[in-house]
Every structure is written in C-alpha cells, then in structure tokens.
C-alpha cells in the first residue's frame, strides 16, 4: 500500500509540474498558433499523464486525457486549426485534469471526479471541427494511441445525451455558449475539495507545495559546504576552549557554543535531505524475483522488511547493483527447483528474505534464502580448478574461510554460465563495490539449509562521529561505529589482565579473552614505554578486539575524505580527515586492521554456534589436572569449590575422605580416574570441586581451576577413554571433557562397599 501511495505521490508531483508547463505552452500557442513544437510538447504531457493514469488505474483521468490527446494529435498533425475556443477548451481540460489530480491526492482514487462534461465537450468540439465530420473515428490514430482506444472514444459520445442536455449539432462554427455551459458543472467541484479540507480541520499542504525538486549536484555541494563548516566550527571551538582565565572572551565562547549548535543542526538537516529509504531498492525486487523465478523454474516467496531504513542517497545508488546481484545469486545458486526441494523434504516454494535495519550507526542488509547453501568443499574445488588458490592452501583453510573464496576475483560457482549470473559481474565485484563505500559483506550458511549474505554499510559517507587517539605523536580517528568501550589498565591491573600466549597478547575482560594489537605495531612505529595501557575495544563484523594506543584525545564529528590511490593498497586506513588545527589525520579501518593483524580465529567458536544450532553454549569449568593437562566439567554439576589442607585427609577403607559440613566427603583424585598420572604433590592444599548428585557429595581433587567459560563445544572423539567423553578445543586449547557420571559412579560404588 505504502509503495502505491509513494508512486501516486510521485505521479502527482510530476503531473502538476507538467501541467504548469502545459499552461504556459497553451498560452504561448495562442500567440503562435502554428507552432508544432509547442503542440508536440503539449501532446507529450497529456500523453504521459494518460499513460501513467492508465497504469495506476485512474480510469476517469485516463478517459479525459485520452480524448484530450486525440484532439491534440489532430491539432499537431494540422488536421484542425487552433481556435480561441479550442484553446479555451484545452485549458479547461487542463483545469479538469488538475481537479482530478486533487481528488486523487485526497482520496487516492479518481472515482469521485466528474470528467463527463469536459470529455463530452472535447469530443463534440473535435467532431464539430473535423472537416471530414468523422467524429467517432479518429481519422488517423496517432502512433501513440493504442488500437483499442477507439471504443473508448465512442463510449463517452454514446453517453452524451445524459450529461449534455443540449448537444451541439455539428455546424462548423462552434457556438460560444457551449463552452460556457460545459463550464458549469466544473465550478462546484473545487469548492467541494475545499470543504473536504476544512472537514479535516487542519491546513492540508498539498503534495506539490510541500516538496520541491532539487538538483542532486546542489545537494552534494551543500554537503561539501557543511563539511567545511563543521571543520571550521571545530577550529573555532578549539580556539574558544583554549580561552581560560580572566582574559577569556566570554562572548567568543558563547558565540562558539551557539555556532556549534547551529552547525550540528544544519549538518543533520542537510544530511537528512540526502537520506532515502532502502524501499526504493526493495521496490524493484519483486519484479526481478518474479521474472527470474519464472526463467529458472523455481518458486520463490519474497519477504521484505525494513523498507523505511534510510541511508545516504549516494550509498543507496552504490548498493543498488550489488544487492540486485546478491538477489539474483540467491535465486540462481541458492533456491532449488520445486522437484529438488520436494526430494530434500523442503516446502516446494523457496523463501527469500530481504531485511534492512539500522544497527550501531550502520545499515545492515541481510539477504537470506532457504536454498542449497554454499558447500565449502565445492567452493574449494572450484577455487582450485580456477587457480584462485592451491590445493595446499585449500587444505589448510577453515570451511568458513573457504566460503569467503567466492569473493575472490576470477571465481564463479555457477556450474554453467547462465543468463542470470555469470555475466562477468561476480561476487568480487559485489564486494569491491560495497567496500568502496566503506561497507562490508559477509557470507554464512549451512549446506542444504540456506545462505545468508550480510551487507553492512555506513549510514552516510560524509560526516561521522569518531574517537581521536594519539600514537607516535600523530592523531588517528577511529569511527564511533566500531567502538565498544575504552579500558585503561594501570600498574598491577595491567599485569593481571594482560597475558601473552605464544607471543600474542590477550586481555581478560569480564570472563572473555580479547585479542590485543598495539597500534604502534600496526603502524610500524615505536611502542611507548608506559606502565599503563589504554585499550580501545573495537568491533568489526563479528570480531571484537582491543587496540592499544598511546593516548585518547576526544570524540569529534569528522568529515571523511578519500585518500589518493597511492595509498589504496593500505588496508589500515579508511580515509583521512582534517582536524581542528588544519592538520590531516588518518582514519583507521578497523576491519582492515583485523585483517592485517590476522585477528579472526578467536571468534571461531562463536561463529560455529551461530551457524550450527546443534551446538549450544555450554558453561564449563576448565581446570588443570595431572600436571598441566586441561580438563573441563559442566559447570552445573559443580556445587562448590573448596580448598582442604592435606592434613585433613583421612582414610575410610581405601577411600580418601575429609570432614566437610558435618559429614564425610569422599575424595576422588581426578587424574588417575581419567587415565592421567597424578603429579607428585608438593602442595599442602588440595583444590577440590564439590560435586553433588542426589544428595551424595563427592570431592573431585584437581590441580587448580583455570577458568569458567561459555563456549559452544564441538566434541571430538579424540582422547576418548574411560572417564573421558572426548576432547574439545576450548579457548584455543585441547581440553578433555570429563565423563562425571562414569568417574563418580566408581567412587560411589566404592563408598557403598565401604558403608
């Protein structure tokens, strides 16, 4: 419905503009009766309105413009001379068209508009003036006139007696009263429209009055100028802020603050003028999907949401083609034919969903289908065959990374080049185009179940909020969209929070390990020796990591400027901006830094959980046992963690026990129970995990507790043995998964024997 309303609104604006032109043309025509140029222009205008009204189902308007067009074609072809009466009639026809448009604007239909009278006049007039007297058949149908139209012409004439009580007989000179008479029914109508307004009780600003058409170049220029203004404001603010003490110029400070406010509002408004809803791109999709589905013999249910999500006009232009391509791909490579789908137990009708939304300063567009998915193995095969990667490289790649190969130049998974894809615009072009506007594109999915393509694009290109940081004496800007939080670690805190694992620094942050990179290393400058550490936690796509910087300045609105092609090869920078003091500062590209620094593997567990629903997150207690070996217990089985002095251990039969909470707690040494060797114990304290099962407690003796993690565990049978279910990679380390039932069962039996 909304789309229709939008189309109608556009039609109204356009038609009103055209009619204004028409008025001028008609008046000019009177002075210059023979001008074919003017007549052609008028003809075209009416013809356009006729075409669109037919398309939109405005029957009345179509009928009116149709007879007008016929008359005009006669004039244009010189079959009729232009008389004052004719001009008057034409002008009245234009007025009636306007009136019909007003009715449409109010009611979205033209059913209430009465066009009979003027239609009849036009037809009559034409009949009267046509020398051949062949009123009912346009002597020479114009090329534009559709053949079926002749009947329509006939219809109003047949109806004629009713609305026109005094039909004018065809003698050549047209009697002047006629137009006057037919003028009559027209008059009350605009009044009715006015009343309608008043009923609503509020001044109704017509569509035409409330919008103007503006040259896009002018808007772009405005954005440029606002960009400059923002920079100048930053400079003035800096100057004003530096004024402190008794000599401070209070007026300047006030004026600067006012400037700040006005500039911000101006900037917002100007940016707003460039924002357009993504619905404009969505609107074309149903047709594309329908045509393609027919062509490919698939059935598709298209589901679109987030039409109103707005983004900058230039960005909208830039994503149009990539999005169309992704939709084509989903149909061509994703959704299977009904037979195949039925065989795979899916509904025969495939589903394709397009969703758009705003998310932390970006527009996220998701294109997901429930088709065949992307098979990493097939991708690898194709990539090797096309020389994109070598067999060796493929063998070393994660399935997730293999899927991303489709973005490489020279890659196309289409088994055969179809009419649809394979026209030289591959996924690499999609990615290039999206990255060019500062966006990213990511593929995920599961073989047999579907594919999801997620495109992230900045809301607007020109001005973004950013955090300015300092490194090596220079300033760098980090887009706010990538920022998560700032962490400052001083003294001891730094030592306890930051650890180096195999040369890589990580930070503990609320139970998660965060990979750290030093901006100095990224830039190749000297690290500053400092006891404190300032970490900027950033997020790019699904990656979260910390960037260590020398200093943090402040957040600013920065104007993103492109950097020259000499620097395009540097993934580290997204662009540059000009600071308040006029100096250039580089804008850091967070995804680029992640790529350069090889960050990504850490997130694998989470990724797997996202793509593979069968692995839900488990809470695990990770512990060290058997002298440095890692094992994990499900956290829910653990009731307490205790420390006991070795001297507290007593023996009950052959079982070690301690007195615990007014009872006896049997101890179970975990290492031998899972086939490991208990290290010679030098400690005087025992770490014990108290396990409770139906009232019976067991103390499981371990070396120490390492961590509590939430992880999607992908269990492998490697290391499976009595007491061990298997192993899994937890926090990048292979960890035994303890089979608590088996382990404690043995002890319980032993205790029962004792008892």
């Amino acid at each position: 419905m909304d789309e229709d309303a939008e189309i109608i609104a556009e039609f109204l604006v356009e038609s009103h503009e055209n009619l204004d032109q028409l008025d001028r043309d008609l008046v000019a025509l009177e002075k210059e009766p023979g001008s074919r140029e003017l007549l052609s222009s008028i003809f075209r205008t009416i013809h356009t309105i006729k075409g669109t009204s037919g398309f939109l189902g405005f029957g009345q308007l179509e009928r009116l413009t149709h007879v007008g067009e016929n008359l005009l074609s006669k004039l244009r072809d010189g079959e009729l001379p232009l008389t004052v009466e004719l001009t008057g009639t034409l002008l009245r026809m234009v007025d009636t068209v306007r009136h019909v448009l007003a009715v449409i604007e109010l009611s979205s239909t033209d059913e209430q508009a009465d066009v009979e009278a003027i239609t009849a006049t036009v037809v009559l007039l034409q009949a009267a003036l046509t020398p051949t007297d062949a009123a009912l058949e346009p002597a020479e149908p114009t090329p534009e006139a559709i053949p079926a139209s002749e009947q329509e012409v006939a219809a109003p004439v047949a109806d004629l007696p009713a609305p026109a009580p005094e039909p004018v007989v065809p003698p050549a000179p047209v009697p002047t009263p006629t137009p006057v008479q037919y003028d009559a029914p027209k008059v009350p109508e605009p009044v009715a429209v006015e009343q309608h307004h008043e009923q609503h009780g509020e001044p109704h600003r017509g569509i035409v009055d409330s919008s103007v058409r503006v040259d896009v170049d002018l808007l772009d220029n405005l954005v440029q100028l606002v960009g400059e203004l923002v920079l100048t404001r930053n400079q003035i603010l800096q100057r004003a802020d530096s004024q402190t003490g008794p000599l401070a110029d209070a007026d300047l400070v006030r004026a600067a603050q006012r400037l700040d406010l006005v500039a911000s509002e101006l900037q917002e408004s100007v940016m707003q003028t460039r924002m357009q809803p993504i619905g404009q791109v969505w609107a074309k999709m149903p047709r594309i999907v329908r045509d393609l589905a027919l062509q490919l013999g698939v059935e598709v249910e298209l589901d679109m949401s987030g039409h109103e999500t707005e983004l900058d006009r230039s960005l909208l232009e830039a994503v149009r083609d990539p999005l169309t391509h992704l939709v084509r791909n989903a149909l061509d490579h994703g959704i299977e034919t009904p037979e195949v789908r039925a065989a795979r137990g899916k509904p025969t009708k495939g589903s394709l969903a397009l969703r758009a939304r705003h998310e932390s300063g970006q527009v996220v567009i998701e294109i997901s289908d429930d088709g065949a998915g992307i098979d990493p193995a097939k991708v690898a095969e194709a990539a090797i065959a096309r020389g994109v990667i070598t067999q060796e490289q493929a063998a070393r790649m994660e399935p997730r990374d293999l899927v991303q190969l489709v973005f490489r130049p020279g890659f196309s998974t289409a088994a055969q080049v179809t009419n649809v894809s394979g026209r030289g615009v591959g996924m690499d072009v999609v990615r290039t185009n999206i990255e060019r506007i500062g966006g990213s594109v990511d593929l995920s999915g599961q073989v047999g179940l579907g594919t999801m393509c997620r495109v992230r694009i900045p809301l607007t290109l020109a001005i973004i909020p950013a955090l300015v940081v300092g490194e090596g004496g220079e300033r760098y800007a980090i887009p706010q969209a990538n920022l998560v939080e700032l962490v400052r670690l001083e003294g001891d805190e730094r030592d306890t929070s930051v650890e180096t694992l195999a040369g890589a620094e990580v930070m503990r942050l609320r139970g998660h390990l965060l990979p750290l990179v030093h901006l100095a290393d990224v830039l190749g400058t000297e690290r500053l020796a400092d006891s404190a550490l300032t970490v900027i936690v950033v997020q790019a796509d699904d990656l979260r990591f910390g960037i260590c910087v020398d200093e943090v300045h402040d957040t600013q609105e920065i104007v993103v400027k492109p950097i020259g092609r000499q620097l395009k090869g540097l993934a580290t920078y997204a662009g540059a901006t000009i600071m308040g003091d006029g100096r250039v500062a580089l804008i850091l590209d967070v995804p680029g830094i992640a790529q350069v620094e090889n960050i990504g593997a850490v997130d694998d567990l989470d990724d797997r959980s996202a793509t593979n629903e069968s692995h839900e997150l488990d809470s695990l207690l990770v512990l060290e046992v058997g002298g440095g070996r890692r094992a994990a217990l499900p956290l829910q089985a653990v009731s307490r963690l205790e420390e006991f002095d070795i001297a507290q251990i007593e023996l009950s039969g052959s079982t070690e026990v301690v007195q615990y909470r007014e009872g006896i707690l049997p101890l179970l040494r975990l290492a031998p129970a899972i086939g490991l060797v208990e290290p010679v114990c030098e400690r005087t304290q025992l770490s014990v995990v108290v396990y409770e099962d139906g009232g019976a407690r067991i103390g499981i003796v371990i070396d120490r507790v390492l961590d509590v993690v939430e992880a999607a565990v992908v269990r492998s049978d490697v290391g499976r043995r009595p007491g061990v279910l298997g192993s899994a990679v937890i926090e990048d380390r292979v960890t035994d998964l303890v089979d608590l039932g088996a382990v404690t069962g043995a002890t319980n039996r032993a205790m029962a024997g004792v008892g």
Binding site: I563, R565, Q566, G569, R583
Partner: protein, 147 residues
Amino acid sequence: MSTQYCTFWADGLQFAIAVEHVQEVLRTQAMTPVPRAPEAVLGLLNLRGQIVTAVDFRTRLALTPAPDSDARMNVIVRSGGDVVSLVVDQIGDVIDTEELRLQPVPSNLPGAVRSALTGVLTLSGAILLVVDPHRAVELPTEVAVSS
C-alpha cells in the same frame, strides 16, 4: 597541443610538466605521515580542505635521497580525478616550447625515471625531462595487503 611547461629541479635534473596539469606551486607544507605507506609517500597535506598525497619526486624516480631541507617545493598536479603533490627541490621558469618537438626518452635512462616521463625536450642550454602527470604519481604497490 600544450606548448607551455612548468619546470622544476630534482637531484640536479630539470623536469617539465605541462602547465595545464599544474594546479599550483606551494612552499613546504605541514604533512601528516602515513605509516606503512610506499616509501615515496611523504605524507598527506591539507590543501584548502582537500587531502592531497605528497609524493617525494626523488624517491619516486629512485634518485639520490634529498637532504633534509625546508626549501623543498610542492608542485600540485592534477592527475585524473586525483590531486597529488610532487615534492621537488626547486622550481624553475615556465618555458614556452612552441618550436620544439617532443623526443623519445633515451633508452639508457634508469627504468624508474623513464616510467615517469613522456619524452624529452632539448633546448640549446638544457635538456628538459617531460613528466607524465599520470604515470609520475603511480607508485609500486608492493605493500598492498591482499587477503
């Protein structure tokens, strides 16, 4: 056909570039270094709100490195859609070369020099190396990070 050339010096050689490609000539500007950039990129400068990449002309042509000096000049060159600054030693006159014909670059010049030239103009007292404004600002992308 262009007949006027802006001339400049770098490492004792006299270069010429067609005036329509030269936007302006500036004294030493404050520059922001670009870590990890190709060696020839000296930094970025703010030219009335536009960000311009400054290319050390000597490094680009693999000539001897310039001594540290504040006297170097920025020749702001329009190249395609980009505006690039060629940082040179010294600015010469604008020379009218209507009478002269462009001659091919002698083949024994080093490749890095030849790659930036379109030809040479021989004057009675000097040889002008005519710079191609597009190729002169092309830099080898050996540092390009590919995924």
